[in-house]
Amino acid sequence: MNKLGSVIRFTYRSQTRTKGFKIGTIFFVILISIGIHLPIIFQAFDLEGEDKVAVLPAESTIPAALQTFYEQQEDQSLSIVRIEDQGSREANEQLAKQMLFDGEIDGYLIIQEDSSALASAAEFKAKDIDSGVLQDLQMALQLIRTGLVAEQLELTGEDLLELNRSFLVESTIVTEGDEGKSEEQIAVTFIFVIIMLSLLFMSIFGGGTMVATEVSSEKSSRVMEILITSVKPLTQMFGKIVGVFLVGLVQLLIYIATAAINLLLPHNRDAFAYFNLDLSGISPSLVVYFILFYLLGYFAYAVIFAAAGSIVSRNEDVGQVISPITIISMVVFYVAIFSISNTGAAYVEILSFVPLFSPILMFMRIGVSNPAVWEIALAIAINVAFIMLVGWFAAKIYRAGVLMYGKKPALKEVWKAMRYR
């Protein structure tokens, strides 16, 4: 056990001391800081400034009402520009177009008026489609039109409210025996699954590649010839995996701290106030499962990467052997994304017991539905067994690697070398 500690510490220290680690970490710290400041930077450059919209025809009820509506708004993200009547519709439109290309306005709205009825259609023209502006305009127009109609029909304010009341439908997923999960709980799970997927992806690609490279570089530098005479390959392998995991963890903590510090800066606090998610829906057991399945996921992939790194003896060949694993993880990723709203499907239930799929899918099932305890226990057992088996196998290949320097990593050779005890 002592030796395991030594391997972990050595791996951790040698990884964190590399230039690549330092530069990479600093790069991401800067990137995160910039990312968080983007809204403020945009504000400073007025990139997200007021959108100016001209409304045609020039003289009419709705354009005037629209102008008043936006003038009364507290947050003036949009303002209405009235254009002077040029006599004809075509001339007005020509002028608006001119103004658009002169940069005076960001777009223009042509309301299709009909003398017999209140207008109910318009055309918005702009150089690019900003769905925010469009939605904004549509909402405002709807509101104005409803008001005008109410006036015509002589409806009271109460009538109007009653008319506008929306019909709410809440959904709950029902599971056998237990009470179901509410939509909030599912939403939280969804966020967790996304976080877990991103974390696993970061760890798998960063950490997994690191493990594979470490293992193969020990072979290429031939240090392993000394190593395997002084420490068990299995100890060596898991020490390395844990060491790399700690490197990733520290890196992650640095990023979280960077984000937290940035968000706590006074000028950022308001900007992000509305991101305040309701975290009360998170149950402690979900957090525990999250950590557990994240660890299982990381180790399951790490042992496979280690096995892959053991097959080759040069760093240049690492990319080749890890690409199948990368493809598998992509498949897992897509399956997870596509099945999150469909966790009851038979294929999800089956895959939640299949190694590599299991950590993400079983966690998803726990969050969204209520799998039986034995199912969770079985998934954990399968994962642990998988990690031990592949870890043992990887150590075998690693050890066999010493006996076959210089040879091509043909599977037949690996298998042969493994059998020589």
Binding site: K3, F10, S14, V223, I226, R399, L403
Partner: protein, 300 residues
């Protein structure tokens, strides 16, 4: 009971026999020479001694017992193919390797500093391996093999890549280790080193043991066949002496091959009758000659 006993060990890879019935032991404070041409089975033998692979037949005993975890901390290994982490500081990796051999960090660090001082390379403590010359990497590798004071030490081509000064330095270190009681399995292609260090040797040829025993005894079995002669003036008629098989003129005199000792005294008589003799020596065969004779004779 010897620290290391290899008893009639055979190892087979598929249908190819790598080592056939090798049998030797290394005592405490002994340097045992394991010799052989390339592909003779030395590496396989060393790997079995290291416990990396297991014999198919026969057995290996370390201090009278079979392989056990404890051995990892009492064995040291200097592989022929050097290997250290190129980008990691000398201090970090040697302390790490010592730790894996069961030492504690503090002690390992102290020992490392002593060794660096002994090898006159104290300033390498904070250097990365890739910054060092090949010979100096070699010294560091040597330290890695001995820092935990192993009882059984396996040295594979310990002096390759070193300049003569450093060869002497390491050689004297190896002799010191012998004096301290370390059992050393020494493999080399440099016969003069083996001759200087080893009392007992074994010569392997294509998986089989060709020659084994005390170096002195082995040498006695081989006839003395060479005479070195240095004289003031050239000597006439050396070739005509019966028993002389060949005469080779060297920069300082003659190197003569003889069939028996009778010829040697006739050479001396002839030479001293003609001129002043500076040097006359009947040379016993060198290990190099013996090796070539033993291993080379079946080669076509």
């Amino acid at each position: 009971m010897y620290p290391l006993q290899v008893e009639r060990v055979t190892k087979q890879y598929g249908d190819k026999i790598a080592v056939n019935g090798i049998n030797f032991h290394v005592g405490a404070g002994e340097i045992f020479g394991l010799l052989g041409a390339n592909g003779a089975g030395k590496t396989t033998t060393m790997r079995m001694v290291l416990g990396l692979i297991y014999p198919d037949q026969g057995q290996i005993l370390w201090k009278g017992q079979g392989y056990r975890e404890e051995l990892r901390s009492i064995m040291g290994y200097l592989p022929e193919e050097r290997g250290l982490y190129p980008k990691i500081k000398v201090s970090d990796q040697i302390v790490y390797l010592a730790e894996l051999r069961g030492m504690n960090r503090k002690e390992a660090d102290k020992r490392l500093k002593e060794w660096l001082e002994k090898f006159n390379v104290s300033d390498y403590y904070n250097k990365r391996i890739e910054e060092l010359s090949k010979g100096n990497q070699q010294k560091i590798q040597f330290i890695a093999a001995v820092i935990h004071q192993p009882e059984i030490l396996i040295l594979d081509e310990a002096f390759s890549g070193l300049d003569p000064v450093n060869v002497e330095l390491l050689k004297s270190t190896v002799m010191e280790l012998r004096k301290q009681g370390t059992s050393i399995l020494f493999s080399s292609h440099r016969m003069e080193h083996v001759e200087e260090l080893c009392e007992n040797i074994i010569i392997l040829d294509r998986s089989n043991t060709k020659l084994q025993g005390k170096l002195k005894e082995i040498k006695k079995q081989f006839p003395k066949e060479r005479v070195i002669l240095e004289t003031e003036h050239p000597v006439d008629g050396l070739e005509r002496i019966s028993g002389v098989k060949g005469v080779r003129q060297t920069a300082s005199g003659y190197d003569i091959n003889i069939a028996d000792m009778q010829a040697a005294s006739e050479i001396l008589n002839l030479a001293s009758a003609q001129t002043v003799v500076y040097r006359f020596q009947v040379v016993e065969p060198s290990l190099n000659d013996i090796f070539i004779k033993t291993v080379g004779e079946n080669r076509e």
